[in-house]
Symmetry: C2
Amino acid sequence: MITCRHFYLKSHAVTHPNINMNDLPGSAGRIDIVARCINSAFWLSYGIRKDVVFHTILHGEPSPPVYIRIEGDKLRKVSPDERNIAIFIKKAIERMKENMEVESTPGIFVSKKSFNELLEENKDKDFYLLDEKGEEIDNVKIGRKPFFLIGDNMDFEEEEKEIIYKYGAKSVSLGKKSYLSSHCITILNWLMDKI
Amino acid sequence: MITCRHFYLKSHAVTHPNINMNDLPGSAGRIDIVARCINSAFWLSYGIRKDVVFHTILHGEPSPPVYIRIEGDKLRKVSPDERNIAIFIKKAIERMKENMEVESTPGIFVSKKSFNELLEENKDKDFYLLDEKGEEIDNVKIGRKPFFLIGDNMDFEEEEKEIIYKYGAKSVSLGKKSYLSSHCITILNWLMDKI
């Protein structure tokens, strides 16, 4: 039985909080993608998935990396629309401290953390890299502690993929089409609901 | 083989164009739901699904019904973020005429049309009503002209369901959980990609 689902999005969104809420895609390195992924990770019609942890590292300027973790069992006050979720991301960036993790709002944690550190901290999990060329998900037996790694519109770099595979990740595919990151999360949640 | 996929969302969004773009959920009867459903219906990583037609009827005040149809093979200029999609819905409402259908922007058509008329026009299609109590989708053979009927946060009324069944709709379920309308569309698109 799967006790908790982890999703990691590699994001190229900005790491300053001066985000223009009227232009999330243009002004902030596609922070709209992050917001939609958070919607997909947590929302059901009548509540929040408590068994999900969402991770992202923002790689944009001026001071990457900014690591944000959202824990479904503690998440409060956020609405499912992009703008509202983006406001909470902005708050997280504003409240980040250099040398310690901060809970910027209930259930949202922010710190400086590299991708290597994140993988090392989660090395007890079963890593899956979403990749169109990977093994078809229907043929993969998902482990008890799944941790899915998903790129935004710019994907992972080769060096990152090397690290991912070093941590034992399996490459899995949702099919030949290339889906939006948020849609991948929706589909993965649905597939895991059926397990 | 499925040649075209149709999705219908019953929406309670407003039918006036004075939509506050800074508060899509609160100001406009959950027009954020409509925007997210449109994102789910059409977007892939590298383009728009040309084989999708999205239908919605807005039932909110002051002058329902407003019927909007989006044809993937003609859709242009729209970005996948909620705000941008909502701007195009607003334009459709602004440009609606009482007695004729108008193409408000490329691929987006608006008119006065009732739900009955919409079903009658599409009676050659295979209707499926999304319903948690329906038959599990994995056990349903999807017809060649699928037309999925999906409620927003307020669902269909009993009278509407009667009409839907009169048109031969099958009730299908994506599982015991109640998913956001947009997530249902993402999952349905994915399932149909596999057929």
